[in-house]
């Protein structure tokens, strides 16, 4: 795979990032007037029906044309340019952030950092926003985005469902390695799951308020009449099959972590033997551990067979709980009222 990624990467590493939009073409930072007074603090109009109106972004990230080297590459910046992802960075090669789609290399470096920030350097929150939009949460690794507003993004043109799925697949696949896509025809939405959380973060920003029309459609010139895609974080898949899969992945992950913990502990006891673990950070969940489990290494012996064994072990252990139960304090240690 190493040689592949070089091949892929080469074309943008060789050239400076182009300017996506010239500065004078950028829209005014003051939104169009929808109220009576302008609130400087929130950058919004108030007193009026300032309903969040949906729109189609006039800018769009064209991966092949826009990627390139920036100042960020020289400064070993790890974070990506938010404006680049929306296709509206006016700095080009002078930008301090990265101007390319996250590669496996970047993701490996980013995951050495912790989860408190997304790939654009914005702080995450404890909980999801009510509408599942925004930066997301640091409590959960979410690699799936929900794609809604598909009819609006197609200007209400009735396309066949396989065509719609194809378009979603085509646009989202360019922004990172996909794990699976599920287009739900009856609900008119799609769920796009990526290999890495970073890809999901990036594509969420890149595809929000974008149209699904392509230049060969005759509606292309009227694309701004529609409403853009609504890209949000997805909740857990309730499908039992998907949950089983998720469970298996989690079990594999915790096994890897156990091995790593033991390895680190051993290294601490015999520091002369092993210096390599000095990075002192957790396993990379996405890129590395999965690659490692595919390739031959210490984890190769741990197959799904062993996972099943582990599960059985868990059940066995549950029998003699009285030994192992740790005193877990409940949230409430006393009933809140006499009625209880």
């Amino acid at each position: 795979m190493a040689q592949d990624s070089i091949e892929n990467v080469e074309y943008w590493k060789k050239r400076p990032a182009p300017i996506q939009v010239s500065e004078k073409d950028l829209p005014s930072s003051i939104p169009p007037q929808t109220g009576l007074t302008f609130n400087l603090w929130y950058n919004k109009w108030s007193q009026g029906n300032s309903g969040q109106s949906r729109f189609v972004s006039p800018y769009r990230l064209d991966v092949r044309a826009h990627e390139g080297r920036t100042r960020g590459d020289k400064a070993k910046q790890l974070l990506f340019c938010l404006y680049f992802s929306k296709g509206m960075c006016c700095l080009g090669r002078k930008c301090e952030y990265l101007h390319h789609v996250p590669t496996a290399d970047d993701i490996a470096k980013l995951s050495l950092q912790s989860d408190v920030m997304d790939c654009f350097g914005r702080e995450k929150h404890a909980n999801y926003r009510e509408d599942m939009g925004g930066v997301g949460t640091f409590r959960k690794k979410n690699r799936t985005v929900y794609v809604g507003g598909i009819t609006g993004a197609l200007n209400n043109v009735p396309f066949k469902s396989s065509q719609i799925e194809n378009r979603i697949r085509f646009t989202f696949a360019k922004l990172g390695p996909l794990e699976r896509i599920r287009y739900v025809e009856t609900k008119n939405c799609a769920f796009v799951k990526y290999k890495h959380q970073t890809s999901a973060e990036f594509s969420k920003e890149a595809m929000s308020n974008q149209t699904l029309l392509i230049p060969s459609d005759k509606e292309w010139s009227d694309r701004s009449d529609g409403t853009g895609l609504l890209v949000k974080w997805a909740n857990d898949d309730p499908n039992p099959e998907a949950q089983r899969r998720e469970k298996e992945q989690q079990d594999q992950e915790s096994l890897n972590v156990m091995l790593e913990l033991i390895r680190k502990n051993d290294a601490k006891e015999q520091p002369s033997l092993e210096n390599t673990s000095s990075s002192g950070k957790r396993l990379l969940e996405g890129a590395e551990s999965e690659d490692r489990s595919l390739q031959s290494s210490i984890f190769s012996g741990l197959s799904s067979f062993n996972l099943r064994k582990l599960k059985k072990l868990k059940v066995d252990k549950a029998d003699d709980v009285q030994l192992k139960e740790i005193p877990t304090a409940g949230l409430v240690e006393y009933p809140s009222s006499d009625d209880d």
């Binding site: 091949e7 912790s114 913990l261």
Partner: protein
């Protein structure tokens, strides 16, 4: 000064600056004293209050466990796997509970797995236990795998998918074409793994056509299609994968991936719509393909070749024979 910041966040930095006004704790939303510092050319700052960090035994900056440097959820999962009892860090869902937990003293009140990792003695004990668990698992691994369960809900069986089957290249063999039909894809195999496997076979990752969809995997129907940019790459792919003969004397390809083998046949008319859109269609298609795989893998001695050939010729008839031939199933799906 009281704070809990892990060494990897500090990375040797000993000078912290107290922010003049503090901030709202990300977990309990109470105000707290913020420290910021520069470590490895990056400015870090504390995001949660010291009390919250003590309750969960996590670093105030990166929110990873102070002892093990792993996320809280992962720590709890590891502990529950080892202990056999469910360990979870229950987070408050509403404002009142947030306050309620925030007022508890973090020195004595620990949430979830924090009670173990904050205490050196019990951490050592748990590590021993992990070692035991791993040793038990890693006993000389006989890598026998049971056949995977095939999900076949009855509701799918009466759906008519002959219009899909007509478009699918079920009779084709492995020959050079620009695009290929893949089936027998386990639903747990992600799309990127298939892309990587194909890239490995053709020894380049730029085999996909940049202006059209080159990989379509329908996990529900357990099948998919790939299309190459050039016919040279396609013929390289054909030569690179393992070929096998079905009982009906058709050559098909096998792409080894993780624990399963994906069957490959040529599909000159690559067509997304042929793989079904509706749930029931996809499930039914998965059943039909599953039967095809079983048939390809059975040796000639096991079943009458006449019945097989007629099935290959007329895929529609397969649906009729679903019930009668249910018991005939190859044991080793994966070969």
């Amino acid at each position: 000064m009281d704070f809990a910041i892990c060494e990897s966040c500090l990375s040797g930095q000993t000078r912290l600056t107290r922010a003049p006004n503090g901030a709202e704790c990300k977990i309990c939303t109470l105000p707290f004293t913020v420290y910021h510092f520069k470590a490895s050319s990056k400015i870090n700052r504390t995001l949660i209050c010291h009390n919250c960090s003590k309750q969960r035994n996590i670093c105030q900056c990166c929110m990873l466990d102070l002892q093990w440097q792993i996320p809280v959820e992962l720590r709890d999962r590891v502990l529950s796997a080892v202990q056999g009892s469910q360990v979870t860090t229950q987070e408050a869902q509403n404002e009142m509970m947030k306050r309620f937990i925030a007022l508890k003293n973090g020195d004595s009140y620990k949430l979830g797995g924090a009670s173990i990792t904050s205490d050196a003695a019990s951490t050592a004990q748990i590590l021993e236990r992990i070692r035991g668990t791993l040793a038990q698992i890693e006993l000389p691994g006989d890598k026998s795998k049971a056949a995977k369960p095939i999900v076949a809900p009855n509701s799918a069986s009466e759906v008519d998918i002959s219009h899909l089957i007509k478009k699918l290249p079920l009779k084709n063999s492995l020959e050079t074409a620009q695009s290929f039909f893949l089936y027998n894809i386990d639903s747990s195999i992600p799309e990127w793994a298939i892309v990587e496997a194909v890239s490995e076979v053709v020894e380049t990752s730029s085999w996909q056509d940049p202006v059209s969809t080159s990989v379509v995997i329908n996990h529900m129907a357990r099948c998919g299609g790939i299309r190459f940019k050039t016919s040279e790459l396609a013929s390289k792919f054909v030569n690179g994968i393992e070929a096998f003969q079905t009982p009906a004397n058709v050559t098909k390809g096998k792409l080894a991936l993780q624990n399963s083998k994906i069957h490959v046949v040529a599909w000159p008319h690559f067509h997304r719509a042929a793989m079904g859109n509706k749930n029931s269609e996809c499930l039914k298609l998965a059943q039909v393909l599953e039967k095809l795989v079983q048939k390809d893998l059975t040796t000639a001695g096991e079943s009458g070749s006449k019945a097989r050939q007629s099935k290959v010729a007329k895929p529609n008839k397969k649906r009729a024979s679903v019930k009668t031939k249910k018991n005939r199933r190859a044991i080793d799906i994966e070969l």
